[in-house]
């Protein structure tokens, strides 16, 4: 059998986006030995793609804002399926986490009096998103990276974790391989933090990069942890739709925050046609009022383009299905129109949305300062994930923690824009802190040799088939198309039942997948090893979505188009049953604490 190299850490953090970096920094501050594993190079994780900003009630632009409003907005956006303790901690702690970034060197845009500037975003009552133009994620990851490299953290770049290792019920390490040489790695750790991000690569149209194959979800599930809320996948309303090769790439909500409007092919501003009851009182009656809102009039209400992402995405799908879409199957997003309102609008747009300007100019040949963009929904984010304790971020498996997108709870049925970057910071810190505390209280545990041997055998199998088997790239593409078609934005029982059946076939095909070539930087082999996680998350999404026979937040069932009040009180949980099959159950949501209930009542 092959050999492996062993690394020993007190805390092992898997994933080096915002949550993983923040967790590693916090754990190292507690004076424990920290290892940080990243699937790609340091600083390249998907956090880098976040554009609009980080939500925190700093009240720098509107002094009416405070954590209570932010809490209430987050719960409303999540249709009250959120883990309310997480929503509370998030709203309370986000301002300190953002200010801390500044102490570590971040350079955010400023208000006139020199404070951190904040912008409007969908579902946030007041301007709340601290930002740097439209490249906030880059600023955040670089700040954390540059701070983290001086903290004594051991970084394992371009390494992929294939399996978690257990001692009895407890997680005590991980097994993986380095991408460059294909050498095996065994990490022993007293505590493991998963911060692996999302599952976007289960779909064909996505804003996510190749890394987002649901690794943390799959690893945790295989280790016996609960996944929760997996039916809630966010389709961001505005991805690029043309040219074909860039379909799915994100177009920031910041475009709408700066005054961008959505129009169909007839030029109609269709978002005014359907405003949900929950938001009627908060939404502008006229385009004029909407414009006043985005330009800072505190008496104005938000334009309907800034309704929550789930709703905007469905309105776009409706327009396209009704034959009122743009030439390439989307709708028009127009920021150029603001030239009617402000002088020198072209320079203003380039200043506020520099990377959008650049992206459309170079990839689509469109000048957004003079022409509308064509946009449509793209798979962007999964609200569901590993079920964790709100305070400590520990999963249902001892010693296993999770933070960021791979953890669930904060966002409920739908995430508000800007609440992801703040989620990474708030709960990354908490996960790091509590993982370090756990590591101090526990010994290293023991890892049976058979666990390593078994993992190595599974990793090598696709290479040993010597090219005689399924092509992993083709299999992944088929899976993505199937998920997009059957478990996408608009769902029904027939399609999803079909999807679950198909997934069984996909599993059989994935078991005989083959990668030609050597173990050195072999993309085909890596794809083979990503497939089991993709299949787990695909099945979890499909089964959870079948179980929720209503439409709520990001989950829309055309066979059950209304909200069902009888389904408002639980989260959907999946876990691996003792016979290896996926088991779905319903977990009642604990009663909301009285003081938090009062906040929600007060905010209306």
């Amino acid at each position: 059998m092959d050999r492996y190299t062993t690394h020993e850490h007190d805390v092992l953090v898997i994933g080096a986006g915002g949550a993983g970096l923040r967790a590693a920094i916090e754990a190292s501050a507690a004076d424990v030995n920290v290892g940080l594993v990243c699937k790609s190079l340091l600083g390249k994780a998907h956090t880098v793609m976040a554009e609009g900003g980080v939500a925190a009630a700093l009240a720098n632009v509107d002094d009416r804002d405070n954590w209570r409003v932010h809490f209430s907005d987050t719960m409303r956006g999540g249709q009250y399926l959120n883990n309310w303790r997480m929503a509370e901690l998030h709203a309370r702690e986000a301002p300190d986490r953002v200010r801390e970034l500044e102490a570590w060197g971040a350079v955010m845009d400023r208000t006139k009096d020199g404070k951190i500037l904040q912008r409007n975003f969908g579902g946030h009552k007041y301007p709340r998103l601290a930002h740097v133009g439209d490249r906030t994620g880059l600023e955040m990851i670089r700040t954390l990276q540059d701070h983290g490299i001086h903290r004594g953290i051991t970084v394992h770049m371009e390494a992929t974790v294939f399996r978690l290792l257990k001692d009895g019920d407890r997680v005590v390490g991980a097994f993986g391989y380095d991408r460059e040489h294909g050498r095996f790695l065994l990490y022993r750790a007293k505590a493991v933090v998963l911060a692996t991000g999302g599952i976007g690569r289960a779909y064909s149209v996505t804003s996510n990069s190749w890394e987002y194959t649901g690794d943390g979800h799959g690893l945790a599930y295989d280790a016996g942890a609960d996944l929760v809320d997996m039916e809630f996948v966010q389709f961001h309303p505005t991805g690029m739709v043309w040219p074909p090769s860039v379909r799915g790439i994100l177009v920031t909500e910041g475009v709408r925050g700066e005054g961008g409007i959505l129009k169909n092919k007839d030029g109609r501003r269709f978002m005014f046609d359907d405003i949900p009851d929950l938001y009627k009182d908060q939404t502008a009656d006229t385009p004029e009022e909407g414009w006043r809102y985005v330009t800072g009039d505190k008496d104005a209400r938000r334009p309907p383009e800034l309704l929550t992402r789930d709703h905007v995405a469905r309105c776009i799908v409706r327009e396209v299905k009704a034959g009122r879409g743009s030439p390439h199957g989307g709708v028009f997003l127009d920021i150029a129109w603001i030239r009617e309102k402000i002088r020198d609008s072209e320079a203003h747009i380039r200043k506020k949305l520099p990377s959008m300007y650049h992206q459309f100019k170079e990839l689509a040949g469109v000048d957004i300062t003079t022409q509308p963009m064509e946009v449509g929904p793209t798979t962007h984010y999964v609200m569901g994930g590993i079920r964790v304790d709100g305070d400590t971020q520990m999963s249902t498996v001892p010693g296993l923690f999770a933070a960021g997108e791979c953890a669930a709870g904060l966002h409920g049925a739908n995430r508000l824009g800007g609440n992801s970057l703040s989620d990474l910071l708030v709960f990354g810190k908490r996960a790091g802190e509590h993982a370090a505390a756990w590591a101090k209280d526990h010994d290293a545990g023991t890892v049976g040799e058979d666990q390593a041997t078994d993992a190595m055998r599974a990793c090598l199998a696709p290479l040993e088939r010597d090219g005689n088997g399924e092509n992993p790239h083709a299999l992944q593409r088929h899976l993505q198309t199937m998920m997009q078609d059957h478990v996408g934005i608009v769902r029904n029982e027939r399609d999803m039942t079909h999807a679950v059946e198909q997934l069984a076939d996909f599993r059989a095909r994935a078991a005989v997948v083959a990668a030609p070539g050597s173990r050195q930087y072999n993309g085909g082999w890596h794809t083979c090893l990503d497939l089991p996680n993709l299949l787990t998350v695909s099945e979890a999404v499909a089964r959870s979505a079948l179980d929720r026979t209503e439409s709520r937040g990001a989950h829309f069932r055309e066979d059950h188009p209304a909200k069902d009040p009888s389904l408002a009180g639980h989260n959907t949980v999946v876990r691996r049953a003792s016979d290896g099959t996926m088991e779905v159950s319903r977990l009642p949501i604990p009663a909301l604490r009285e003081d938090l209930k009062a906040i929600i009542a007060e905010m209306g």
């Binding site: 350079v107 400023r110 740097v132 092509n471 050195q520």
Partner: protein
């Protein structure tokens, strides 16, 4: 659909050869799309590093028709397709396999640069005040996506292999971002002169030309740093002051 030929450098640890692949091209395609199609259909083990495919992460750096560029931001309709499009790995770093190079040197260099050290907070609540016009200069440098194309094109690294004594344009930009940060109090000038080889740069501006983020590397970052180093160590009047200034240790 029309076809085009892609001549890709394949091999391991510096040994290799050009291999031609023919694949279909469609409207709006970028070089990385063609590489992915080749990987999916003709060469599953083709090694290529990429992430965001939107010009934001700086992973897919390569040399396309001899020019250092991001594969994800190079549209095929900007290249002549009646002849093969050549794609090869960056030259300033050790070769790993096919289009992938070992860029870990860059990460080691960054660790040696003194980190951000802010002045005490301006307000009682622990926050600072900065004017937008004062942060804009630094924000330009902080746009850097660490694609290392500037390092690749720099002749000090590429041709003269001064990796031990020169940190390269990327890290001069990084240092400029720290030195010109309105809150920073650290002094990095001696390191720039003694350890980081700022004198090696002779301002050919190749780095500025290849930067996909359009950072004015030479004019806005390197030249001002050179001026600061000169003012600190070579200004004759300042030198005179230093000679007559009583030394603390005596």
């Amino acid at each position: 659909m029309p076809k085009a030929t892609f001549r890709i450098w394949r091999g391991e640890r510096g040994d290799g050869a050009w291999v031609d692949f023919e694949t279909e091209v469609s409207e709006g395609m970028v070089v990385l799309d063609a590489v992915h199609d080749i990987q999916a259909e003709q060469a599953a083990d083709l090694a290529v590093r990429w992430n965001c495919k939107a010009g934001k992460c700086g992973s897919c750096s390569a040399e396309i028709n001899g020019m250092p560029r991001l594969m994800c931001m190079t549209r095929l309709d900007t290249l002549p397709l009646d002849e093969p499009v050549t794609i090869e790995p960056m030259k300033a770093f050790p070769h790993v396999r096919d289009l992938v190079t070992d860029v870990s040197w860059n990460y080691e260099v960054k660790k040696r640069i003194k980190p951000f050290k802010p002045r005490p907070p301006d307000a009682a609540d622990g926050t600072w005040r900065m004017a937008q016009e004062d942060v804009e200069r630094v924000q330009e440098f902080r746009k850097c996506i660490e694609c290392f194309l500037c390092q690749d094109v720099c002749h000090v690294l590429r041709d003269h292999h001064k990796h031990d004594s020169f940190i390269g344009p990327r890290f001069l930009v990084h240092t400029a971002g720290l030195e010109m940060h309105p809150l920073d109090t650290e002094d990095r000038l001696a390191d720039l002169k003694e350890k980081q080889g700022i004198g090696y740069c002779n301002i050919t501006k190749c780095c500025t030309k290849v930067c996909p983020e359009h950072i004015t590397i030479t004019d806005n970052a390197i030249i001002p740093l050179k001026e600061r180093v000169v003012d600190e160590f070579y200004d004759p009047i300042a030198k005179l002051f230093r000679i007559f200034r009583p030394k603390k240790t005596e």
